[in-house]
Amino acid sequence: MYKYDHFDQSIVDARVAEFRDQVNRRIAGEITEDQFKPLRLMNGLYLQLHAYMLRVAIPYGTLDSRQMRMLAHIARKYDRDYGHFTTRQNIQYNWIKLEECADLLEELATVEMHAIQTSGNCIRNISSDQYAGAAADEVADPRPWAELLRQWSTFHPEFSYLPRKFKIAVIASPEDRAAMRLHDIGLELVRQNGELGARVFVGGGMGRTPMIAPEINPFVKADDLLSYIEACLRVYNRYGRRDNIYKARIKILVHEIGADEYRRQVAEEFAHVKTLGIDPPLAELERISAFFAPPAFDAADVEPDRSDPDFAVWLDQNVKPHKQTGYAIVNISLKPIGGIPGDATSAQIDVMADLAEQYGFDELRVTHAQNIVLPHVAKRDLHAVWQVLRNADLADANLDLISDIIACPGLDYCSLANARSIPVAQKIATRFADMDRQRDLGELKLKISGCINACGHHHAGHIGILGVDRKGVENYQLTFGGSGAEDVSIGKIIGPGFDEDGVVDAVEKATEVYKTLREGDERFIDTYRRVGLEPFKEAIYG
């Protein structure tokens, strides 16, 4: 894992001191809320329905046990004993007090963490593949590149006041586990004739105008990558709309001028940027990459004893192959049946930290699906890990099944929401609680947003649910056919909306249609794509 150098630590410490002064001035009445709001947002502090909410950055979703324990400590000391892991691979605390926020950030800084780039019109926390460094199908480890982008983007003077927020994802596998093409910039590291580079996709996103990022360049050499991204941002910063917040994202610019014209402008700008010498020297890349060297794998290839049926189900569902013989990737579901997607108590966070330290080379990852990953666990230790998880109510074997639901905080917490998301997730998970039933349905990605901003990624759900306000009453629209994976697609609304119980019934009817019509190993989305909407619509609306 990357470790802060003197510069990293200095800028984070300085930011905490600066924010402490700003908070004091606000409480003393020296600055108004209008003046203070952009300052607190630059430090991840929102005002939500019930209290201030602090969003803490977890760069590319990677952290160690010391940092994870600090997250638990923050939950206990400054919040109400829990945290909410988000679709940006971050964590949010829902009950923060303004007067304690600087103390919190000061403690966070002691473990090389902060809340910078979690709000505002800047380049947000870089996201990546939660299996980075462990996946057999990756062409390179994407984390050094994500870290390089973090360093480049943090406090970038030119890109701190963009027309709108800006999200970048980096992956290095053909299998997309990070919804890469639904980002403002998506990078897929690839090799061409042995040389490392990246496919560059620009102009994707969800929100009220979902778009899949078109490929702007099929291969940018690694040596040119930072300059090329700088050029992408410069064109956006120059021509992105600032007069209308709903048209300010880069996806609108790329869509309006067209991918070809955007590509041409980026090429022109790139020619200029390349003369500025911003791409890091090889020595700096090597310095960063060294932090991500593979751990000392030495475990023998031992197949775990599958005699416990619950353990065997968990192995099949939540444990994924590792590139290193003798090791596996463990997914920890934060989606207990009837629970709140992404929430974990301080005690559970501590348990996961302990497991990482004892069994996982001290590494954890947060996934965009609001789960936690231990990327490097020896197969011989899987049963021991599972037992600890089970004792902490963290052993739900539902990864990628219908109850592994992404849900935004919705109207229970969020001031932007129009409808509650969590109760719908709870009811659907409870309806499908039977594991055999879930496993029979197979991979089915269900995602719920409480408003059109789409923090719950409903556009990318095989089944998506969007909560809307219909004359003061919660109403839920269903979408089918979305995907955030390598088969990326945007879901389509299937018809009139439902009330809370109605949408649960509709989801169940859709699964029945799927079971009737599926062929071979088809997933729900495969069957939907093959047969189209009509059979589903007929069953749901009659």
Partner: protein
């Protein structure tokens, strides 16, 4: 009726104007009628409240109830965590929210 609500500056907690101060409980809120804007500006200026705004509400025997669901959720706490609401010991306390 009209209610004035906002958040405490320091804690961020939801508060309601009672006529002579602020309360965490919507039951204590009073109808601000046509005077809401004036109270809002005075209280905001005195830093006793953050991001105040005026909402529609209805009078009930149990006290004022916000007209919009968002403000009803604000009034008590998250519907999915009764233990974190203002009345964690009363399982029926939130029956009027939805």
């Amino acid at each position: 009726m009209k209610l004035l609500t906002g958040n405490e500056l320091g804690s961020g907690a939801v508060t309601w104007w009672t006529g002579n101060g602020w309360s965490l409980h919507v039951e204590d809120a009073v109808d601000v009628g046509e005077h809401g804007e004036a109270v809002l500006h005075a209280e905001e200026g005195a830093r006793r409240v953050n991001a105040p705004y005026i909402i529609d509400a209805v009078a009930t025997p149990q006290g004022p109830r916000p007209a919009h669901i968002k403000d009803r959720v604000r009034a008590l706490g998250p519907t999915v965590r009764p233990d974190l609401t203002l009345k964690p010991a009363d399982p029926a306390a939130g029956d009027w929210i939805i």
